[in-house]
C-alpha cells in the first residue's frame, strides 16, 4: 500500500536498529516518553522495544484521550443517554470506559439509546433522520479530533439543525505535557512527539520543552520505521548535546500547523479554565468547551448534567502509569483484578492505553525475558 509499505520495511528496520545501537553511549541510560497512544500501540504491535539496546527505555505517556477521561464525565454521558428524548452518539472508543456505575455499553444494554459513530458527520446525519429526538455527540480527543467536531457544529449551525448538540470533552496536548514535566518524580531524557495532533497544531508548540526543560522532542509518524527513526533522532540529539524540536513526520506535519484548522477551532471552541484528567488531577486550560457563538449546541447547557466528581478507584494506579513513574506490570492489579475483559482503570480499556497495549503484546516479550 502506498504511503505505508515504505515505512514497514524489515531490512531498513534492522539498519535503523544498528544505527541506534551505534549511537548510544555504554553506561548511559536513556528514558524516552512516547506521548501518543498510537505510538504505544505501534511499539508493542511491531515489537520495537525488542530492537532497542537494553539502556534505551520507552515510557508510555498520557496521549490516549480515552484513558484520561475521569469517571464523572462518563457518568455525565450516561445520565444524558438515559434522558428518554436523547440519542447519545460517540466513537466506539468510549463504549467500555468504566464510570462509577457501569459503562456506556452497560447503559445501552439497559435500554439507553447510545449509538457508535465513526465521525461526527454520522451523528449529524442521525439528527437529520430523527427530528423528534435530541441527538448528542459525546466529543472526545485531542486537537486531531477537535476539528472534526468543530466542522460538524459549523455545518449544523449553517443548516439550522436544532436537535443536535455536543458534550465536549476535547483536551489539548501541551498543558498535560507541562504538568508532567513539572512533576518532581518524573525522570525523562526526551519525547517522541504526537504525529497526528501535530498535523493540526504543528511542531512549534513543543518548543517550550527544549527551551524550558532541556529535553529534545521529535514529532513522529506511526509506522515502525517512523518510530525507530524518531528514537534515533532523539538519541543523536542527546549524544551530540543538542536539544531542539525536530519533525520526523514532515510528510504530513507542517511546522506551524494547519492554519485553517486552527482558525475553525478558535471559532467554535474556547479553553476551559480547568479540566480534570484521570490520574493527573485538574490541569488549567487543558480542555475545550463550546464558544458563546455555539452555546445553543452545548449539551451541558441544554440538559441538566450532574457534573459530579468521582474519585478514581483506589486500587488503580493509572495516574502513575500515565506519568511513567511505574510500568504497567508494576501496578498492583495489572493482569489480575484489572484485565481488558474487566478493566478497573482506563489504561486497560483502550487498546492504545499503556496497560492494555502491554497486556496484549508486551507481556509476551517480558515472559520470554523472565524465563
Amino acid at each position: 500500500m502506498r504511503f505505508v509499505d515504505e515505512y514497514r520495511d524489515a531490512e531498513l528496520g534492522q539498519v535503523l536498529a544498528g544505527e541506534i545501537l551505534a549511537t548510544v553511549e555504554p553506561g548511559r541510560h536513556y528514558k524516552i516518553m512516547e506521548v501518543c497512544g498510537g505510538h504505544t500501540h505501534s511499539i508493542y504491535k511491531y515489537g520495537i522495544d525488542d530492537l532497542l539496546p537494553a539502556n534505551v527505555e520507552l515510557v508510555h505517556g498520557p496521549g490516549c484521550p480515552v484513558c484520561v477521561i475521569p469517571m464523572g464525565r462518563v457518568d455525565d454521558g450516561i445520565a444524558l443517554a438515559r434522558e428518554p428524548s436523547v440519542i447519545l452518539t460517540c466513537f466506539g472508543d468510549m463504549m467500555r470506559i468504566p464510570g462509577s456505575d457501569g459503562s456506556f455499553l452497560d447503559a445501552k444494554a439497559e435500554g439507553a439509546d447510545i449509538r457508535m459513530v465513526y465521525s461526527p458527520l454520522d451523528a449529524l446525519r442521525i439528527a437529520r433522520e430523527n427530528p423528534d429526538r435530541e441527538v448528542v455527540f459525546y466529543a472526545i480527543g485531542f486537537e486531531t479530533t477537535a476539528p472534526s467536531t468543530a466542522l460538524t457544529l459549523k455545518r449544523a449551525k449553517a443548516e439550522g439543525i436544532r436537535n443536535f448538540s455536543c458534550m465536549c470533552s476535547h483536551v489539548t496536548i501541551v498543558p498535560p505535557l507541562r504538568a508532567l514535566l513539572d512533576s518532581p518524580d518524573l525522570r525523562l531524557d526526551g519525547f517522541i512527539g504526537p504525529g497526528h495532533v501535530s498535523t493540526v497544531v504543528g511542531a512549534r508548540p513543543f518548543e517550550f520543552i527544549p527551551a524550558s526543560y532541556d529535553k529534545p522532542v521529535v514529532v513522529a509518524g506511526f509506522e515502525p520505521l517512523d518510530v525507530l527513526q524518531s528514537i534515533h533522532m532523539i538519541l543523536r540529539q542527546l549524544v551530540e548535546d543538542r536539544c531542539e524540536v525536530e519533525n520526523q513526520y514532515a510528510r504530513v506535519v507542517p511546522y506551524d500547523g494547519n492554519v485553517q484548522a486552527l482558525k475553525v477551532l478558535s471559532e467554535v471552541f474556547e479553553l476551559r479554565p480547568h479540566f480534570e484528567w484521570r490520574g493527573l488531577g485538574f490541569i488549567s486550560q487543558s480542555a475545550l468547551r463550546l464558544s458563546d457563538a455555539y452555546a445553543d449546541f452545548d449539551a451541558e447547557q441544554r440538559f441538566a448534567v450532574p457534573g459530579v466528581r468521582v474519585a478514581d478507584p483506589k486500587a488503580c494506579q493509572c495516574g502513575e502509569v500515565l506519568k511513567g513513574v511505574i510500568k504497567p506490570w508494576e501496578c498492583k492489579v495489572f493482569g489480575t483484578a484489572c484485565t481488558p475483559e474487566r478493566p478497573i482503570g482506563t489504561c486497560m480499556v483502550s487498546p492504545e492505553g499503556a496497560c492494555a497495549a502491554y497486556y496484549n503484546y508486551g507481556r509476551f516479550a517480558r515472559e520470554r525475558e523472565v524465563v
Binding site: 472526545i140 498535523t199 514532515a250
Partner: protein, 87 residues
C-alpha cells in the same frame, strides 16, 4: 450533497486490540478521493479495504478526485504527496 452509502453504526468495530480506536490511537487512515463536491465541502473517499465514506474537506484545500488523503474521524487532515514520502 454527494450521495454516499450510510454507515451502519451498529456494525462498526468496537474497541478491540487489533482494530485500534479513532481517538486513542490518534488514527489516520489513507483514503483516496473518488468524488469531490466543492459546494458542500465533502468528498466520497475509499479506504484501503474498499469501504467508502463521506469525508469533510473543511481544513484542506485544492482536493481533486484521485488525491490520497490522511483521514481522521471523517475529516481530511492532509493530502499525502509522493514527493514528501520520498523525502
Amino acid at each position: 450533497m454527494i450521495e454516499s452509502p450510510p454507515r451502519a453504526e451498529e456494525t462498526l468495530p468496537a474497541c478491540l486490540p487489533d482494530v485500534g480506536c479513532i481517538t486513542c490511537g490518534d488514527e489516520g487512515i489513507e483514503m483516496r478521493a473518488l468524488k469531490v463536491d466543492a459546494g458542500s465541502g465533502l468528498a466520497v473517499c475509499v479506504d484501503p479495504g474498499g469501504s467508502t465514506s463521506e469525508v469533510d474537506l473543511g481544513i484542506v484545500t485544492g482536493i481533486a478526485p484521485g488525491d490520497a488523503l490522511l483521514v481522521h474521524a471523517g475529516v481530511a487532515l492532509a493530502r499525502l504527496e509522493a514527493e514528501a514520502v520520498a523525502r
